[in-house]
Subunit: 410 residues, 2 copies
């Protein structure tokens, strides 16, 4: 009679109105020891407000993807929003387009482009075209845009620079689809491959044909370049049409983020992007205060912690964590039903890179079980009431604490 | 070549004879701080015997349904018995019938009934008929039973009072089935809906027709009532025919519980209900002693902790926990291979309601890994060897400790 629920059906079935929820994502929050006494960035930072929340709330360590998997920023955020990135993979082209803030529309076909060098026989000699400068990338993408503008009658092409040899390719038009292969043979000494459709659909056949025509035209336009005389496309993909966050959880959701990538991922799941001036945590919290009445759920993204982690700058990462700590009282004054402070992944300055280490996570609410700890840090989190939990469980847990979930069963 | 195992196939494959297992479910065991120094009910209770077991055994926090989901008692118990309630949902009608101790038979179709008030046009003005008294409910259900007795040639109808405006409807006969919708439009100002079958099966069509005929007759019988002049049926469902506990785990299982609901859920998975006199924990443990030779597995249900939690009575909940503690030596004397002490869910007196907080859990066995704690409480459990585990994993863990599981693979 009854059929098993999916996780999202469970949410749709149980959700109800309740308190507001704030999710603060301190990008790359988790770290590794870097001081003489073996403390991490978060453990070293002077964070009286976060420590108070830790004493009053529940701590844990969250796993963004799977244990041991180092997350990219896109999937890591999807996971925090409740979408298991292994079950809801997003094409690289879509993530790359979101990453530069390209206003992707439903059915747009997006790819990650790489300029490359080929020899007289068309064999690839450098898959990254000698890592040309970003200025060169900008010049070349403008050139490609010009060459593309009147290529198709019924489709538009957008070429946007990213960095060095990387660019974004977007094809917009009706009837595009399919499962499209990459042109990159992933090795030098071979020719780029034609795009093939593996879905067998009409939309796939059409998309493959148009993309191949564009690639040919683009290579002609680059033929006289000394380095970037060819290119490859990877991760051709469309907006995955994810089930929408507001519809799953029954919450109007607003996103506060400085960087386009995070605004893009939030848009992808149906959050509304809140505009504001400035780029510091205090500006973001001012935007939260301003928009408080308009949403049930707020996603706030703090970027620089990750950037400093990637730079290997232990102290700068600490200072950015402290800048977030200083804003906590203004968040608390608003009277949220539940507040989550976490990261999308760890970026230990000691590694200078994203890492797979589970992420310190704090859930504060008047209804939270206070843990037996007095500070917010990796080691404290390991003994907390949230345990080692998958990041996708955080929204349901916050909803419970904010009174937004009905009882399951009688 | 080989196909993946389901969890139950794994148990069927690995199970063997071993020591006896006792599962003591202290209903609503988990709490929240309620003393000036921030201790919970369980942390405050004087429990020398449970503390000794905690020092010798392994602790953890169990998740009954999913993180953040507040469990009903039925699904929470299924989970403790190893059945993920999200994968094995039980219809509300079945749970309601079990809840009043109705001896449901396989294929019986059960629903939760609500008396309602409609106006002259048949539009619902009160979905709960002004929350009539339970006495009124008893009078009205007797009246409905009478009106139903000769309605069908080949089916029986049972109408049982529950509380206030709530009753149980059971239709018994051959060839019933389907996926049946509710009659309740969930809002006032509308007419009750007819029951529809969504399965498209013959059994569904037949069941929908019979139920609709009964509803019509029942509304006629109520037409002159001032308040309860109509009714709705919700959660029409049959016994889900779950795989049976003794067959999955290879253990003869006996259930010791005072309240019908818990005897019912135990019966649903094929446990045998052990009869006994009295309603205190000491009577239940006497029943355990008495029945020790007859079963491999015992489920003992302690109800009042939950009732006191729901009443917001912090101290009474403590006293009931202490009453259980006093019985521990009699349990230990029996020489079980493994003993689990847990709750089906948390019912913090501070909230006066079931809650989603994970449940303190203790696994004692001569083979258990002793944790670095000396007491049984929420905070101690957060740092234990069982971690934050799903409740469905407890039976396999107990079986392992009681020597009831073979090695997996060579």
């Amino acid at each position: 009679m009854s059929t098993p629920f999916t996780e999202f059906e469970l949410m749709r079935d149980l959700r109800q109105d309740g308190g507001k929820i704030v999710l603060v994502v301190i990008d790359g929050l988790g770290g590794l020891p870097g001081t003489p006494d073996g403390k991490t960035e978060l453990e070293t930072a002077h964070t009286p407000h976060l420590d108070r929340l830790a004493a009053e709330g529940s701590l844990g360590l969250s796993i963004p993807i799977r244990p041991g998997i180092e997350p990219g920023s896109g999937p890591a955020h999807l996971s925090l929003f409740g979408y298991d990135p292994v079950r809801y993979p997003i094409g690289r082209g879509v993530l790359e387009a979101l990453g530069i803030g390209f206003p992707l529309q439903t059915n747009d076909l997006a790819a990650r482009g790489n300029f490359a060098t080929v020899d007289a026989d068309g064999l690839i000699t450098d898959r990254r075209a000698g890592r040309i400068s970003t200025e060169e990338c900008i010049r070349l993408t403008a050139q490609l845009q010009k060459a593309s503008d009147e290529l198709f009658d019924d489709c538009e092409v957008f070429i946007e620079p990213v960095q060095e040899h990387r660019f974004v390719f977007v094809l917009r038009g009706a009837g595009l689809g399919g499962t499209l292969t990459d042109t990159d043979p992933l090795t030098v000494g071979k020719k780029p491959l034609p795009v093939r459709d593996e879905s067998g659909s009409d939309a796939g056949a059409r998309a493959a044909e148009l993309v191949n025509r564009w690639v040919e035209r683009a290579r002609q336009a680059l033929a006289d370049e000394p380095q970037a005389n060819s290119l490859n496309l990877r991760g051709l993909a469309q907006d995955p049409n994810l089930p929408l966050f507001p519809e799953i959880y029954g919450m109007r959701a607003g996103a506060i983020a400085v960087y386009p990538m995070y605004r893009g991922v939030a848009s992808l799941v149906g959050m509304e992007v809140i505009e504001f001036a400035g780029d510091r945590p205090r500006h973001e919290i001012s935007a939260l205060v301003q928009a408080w009445d308009d949403f049930d759920f707020f996603f706030i993204h703090i970027k620089k912690t990750d950037s400093y982690g990637e730079d290997g700058d232990f102290d700068a990462k600490i200072h950015e964590i402290e800048a977030v700590d200083a804003e906590i009282p203004r968040i608390l004054e608003l009277g949220a039903g539940a507040l989550i402070i976490t990261g999308d992944h760890s970026t230990p300055a000691a590694l200078g890179s994203h890492s797979w280490h589970p992420v310190p996570t704090l859930l504060w609410s008047p209804q939270a079980m206070p843990d037996a700890v007095q500070s917010f840090g990796e080691r404290a989190c390991a003994a907390g009431h949230l345990g080692i939990c998958h990041a996708t469980t955080l929204i349901p847990q916050a909803m419970a604490h904010a009174g937004r979930l009905k009882r399951f069963g009688a």
